[in-house]
Symmetry: D2
Subunit: 281 residues, 4 copies
């Protein structure tokens, strides 16, 4: 499916510093960047880095002049997804997991799965089908955690959200990841552009590793699962920040949009009793 | 320098599970595994995995029979280190850091550097030489944090230790890493065998990325810096656990030793006013 | 019912300090101290203080000589309880609460009810009868939290226990209190001697303020509710410590016992569907 | 000194609830309420409660009609303070503390002094004069913690602030209290109207118990110490909330002012080397 994505962000620079932005659509076998344009105004030379983990596309540049810097990214993306039937799926045993997947079982800054072990097992340990397990915990988050802007902040973690039960997409994703890992299901953070997200913004959700694929889950249920353009994956938001800022530089304003560039979109979501998992590659 | 390292660990298995051990000495240009022997008793087939990050050597095996499993590792290691003069060294700017180093600026499970930003700058921000900065924060930890077995646990993080000021080598290392990252100095966790550590045990300390090298620091000051055999590096203890256990398997006893296998060892430590940083490669 | 209670505790004094013990049975209209004996060996003059809140009996004395101090308390206590039917009971509205009860709605050191608001309402908000609400949350704690010695410590709070789901009587009580307060039900910590507690120890549970009375609840379900001798009540364990120690004084050993001193004891517990609340005065 | 104090607050009521406000100036031997006026518009009958601890004046009323409720308080207050020389003062030993003062040594919701023991002793344990100790820790907070609106929230505690080092008057006070208690100096939270506070608002600071008196300290240094009108004291902000709201009632706007009502005010603050402690009674 083709999507037009766009973002524009402004920063105020007060002293020399470095910015590392992670807003470019990922290039994968299932996601083609048909065309894209990235500008920094006033002009600054930008270096593209590919992160070792996740192959995320990082744009690094130095801001040496005090003033305003405006960053614009627009792209036409063509992506596709796969649906897999998990009816008969058993859990992938740790003994069979690929070594590149193992780190996604570890606790991380915002996903303290080591503290959620008993809770996760008390709530979801009885479910044997691994897809059903993750669908159920995603639904549990959706039901119990209130979507509330301004409650959480950049330091809020899954350990907070599981009890305080309020937050935004980032918090929903962290909690989903932490619960999966506590249940020995590898899980990672996913950032992207999202079709039909209101108000328009970057979106975060998560992927669980089921039957050898990374399957997408979104506890916010704010958007269709097949309307996402992948920007980055990582252990949690610490690995996939939209912007890492070094120096006395302040973010001021942002616009984001994600629109269909062709017709025929039919939303996919996991309904009751569904066993079709959606994967981007 | 040549060292004989040895460990023996016992586990009690009650139901089928998987163990992933990270106790093998790392193979690096500066650390040669002259010979080594690894046995699991009763015999179990073991798979060696090389972690994507850090190239740590993970031994994975399934334990399917209830009973006791005894694991033994012994090796003769020949390693060497480099001393670098950091007198004239400037900080490596974020704009120059290699992409593989960038993740070591991010906060992690046990090193919430994002919460220590102001504290780190208040305490150490005035020091311009980056080596001196890390030596000073290492000394600050050594002076203020009490080495105390049994105070901290597997969930204790740098955010706890910076205030509660008690812990073991793991906690000292996490705090060192968190302070470095808060000061925009990449830092990572280091586990190893340690010569002269009493009581004998695995040891943990940390490396800071200075002038393009990973330089070793140990806030516990329990052992000579040049008596360490590297097992693993990672973001923090979550990445470098001696053992990851999946299933109803319990660790019972452990022996560790690290002895000199040749003569002529002269201990290296950072004294007052020193600018010679020690690196293993 | 008559009970013989006894405790003996030893402390090692290394430098002059002060001890404040809170081990004496409370004197209330429903709890008579028939006789009691308190000795400190070697002899030290002891001052009895009555706490402003809770009227707890604090024994304060200075320990000026290095060495061992042995404290012994034994008493014959006659107490009785009331059973109240809460079938038709409505919640006491905040507008009707006595001013002395209001502080027990506030969050405290170990009972961060302000953080548990949404969770408590999601789990128990639908229950209208206040007694049933507290019985249900007590049962929820009993079902979900594992009684496990050595997991928690003196800093563990309800915010930890609600997620980590392991602890001892103190942790069970703190969580019960925090959930009640989050539901606008005043609740307080209760320490006492407990008949049939194994292994013998001091016990902690909690009281909720229902229909104008402090009703007893015990999420551990380790002992009959009518076999408790009240020592103290307070906001949480911070107010009702068995011992507050100031100076370089270390607790070493302790014995506690609580035995029936007459026949005819019939255990009372809240069974399924019960609406009879037990109150000590 | 005479001061005119004033506050007006608006609440939006959506369903019946109860408000408990704590905005009235305290009546003490040293603080006379010359005249005062309290109105609720539209008219609602208000009950004045005197809190058991602190004798704070709580105004409780039910809001049963949906709509806006406007609360206005204005008063003419005449207060005075005492200055005490603490040059020769020794610490009050725990063995001599009045029983009503002892609870102010305990950790509380926002002042986890039990976790700050080593830190407090490392930083301030060497200072023998107790007044100097509290002045020094107050200055340390002032120097290290950044006054920053919007960083902390209603759940932020001293354990957070000691490391994150940003917050508002409430956070400065909580940290001061926690450090005092960790040093075995009783300390309590103080709310009041503050002359010269900009922007105008309620203010919070703290009192330490020195030489038998509650001495005022303010780590924010935003206002003269002798320009405060005491509203309430308590263990921390949990005990002294300006408003406790029960029900679906939302605070919307507030005005506060505190003006001199006579001439001749000369500001008092603790300068370098000062040993004159200021107490309101």
């Amino acid at each position: 499916m083709k999507f037009d994505v766009f973002t524009q962000m402004e920063y105020v620079v007060r002293s020399p510093g470095t910015l590392i932005l992670n807003i470019h659509a990922l290039r994968t076998p299932n996601q083609t960047v048909v065309n894209e344009e990235f500008t920094v105004d006033p002009y600054i030379k930008v270096e593209e880095l590919i992160s070792a983990q996740g192959e995320n596309r990082l744009m690094r540049f130095e801001v040496n002049e005090p003033g305003t810097v405006k960053v614009t990214y627009k792209a036409l993306i063509d992506n596709c997804y796969e649906l897999t039937d998990y009816h008969e799926q058993h859990e992938v045993m740790v003994a069979q997991l690929d070594v590149t997947v193992l780190p996604y079982l570890n606790p991380s800054r915002y996903c303290q799965s080591d503290k959620l072990y008993r809770l996760a097992h008390n709530l979801f340990g009885h479910i044997t089908n691994p897809f059903e397990k993750v669908v159920t915990l995603t639904d549990w988050i959706h039901t119990n955690v209130q979507y509330l802007s301004g409650y959480s902040n950049a330091q809020t973690s899954a350990f907070d959200t599981v009890t305080e039960q309020a937050g935004v997409c980032r918090d929903f994703a962290h909690l989903g990841i932490a619960l999966c890992r506590a249940l020995t299901i590898p899980a990672r953070y996913f950032t992207g552009y999202a079709y039909k997200l209101e108000p328009a913004d970057f979106h975060a959700c998560f992927e669980a590793y089921l039957g050898g694929k990374w399957v997408l889950f979104d506890a916010t249920k704010l958007v269709p699962l097949n309307g996402l353009i992948k920007i980055a994956t990582g252990r949690d938001a610490a690995d996939t920040a939209i912007a890492n800022i070094f120096g006395d530089v302040t973010f001021t304003t942002m616009q984001v949009s994600c629109e269909l560039a062709e017709e025929g979109f039919e939303p996919v979501n996991y309904g009751a009793g569904a066993y079709q998992g959606l994967s981007y590659l």
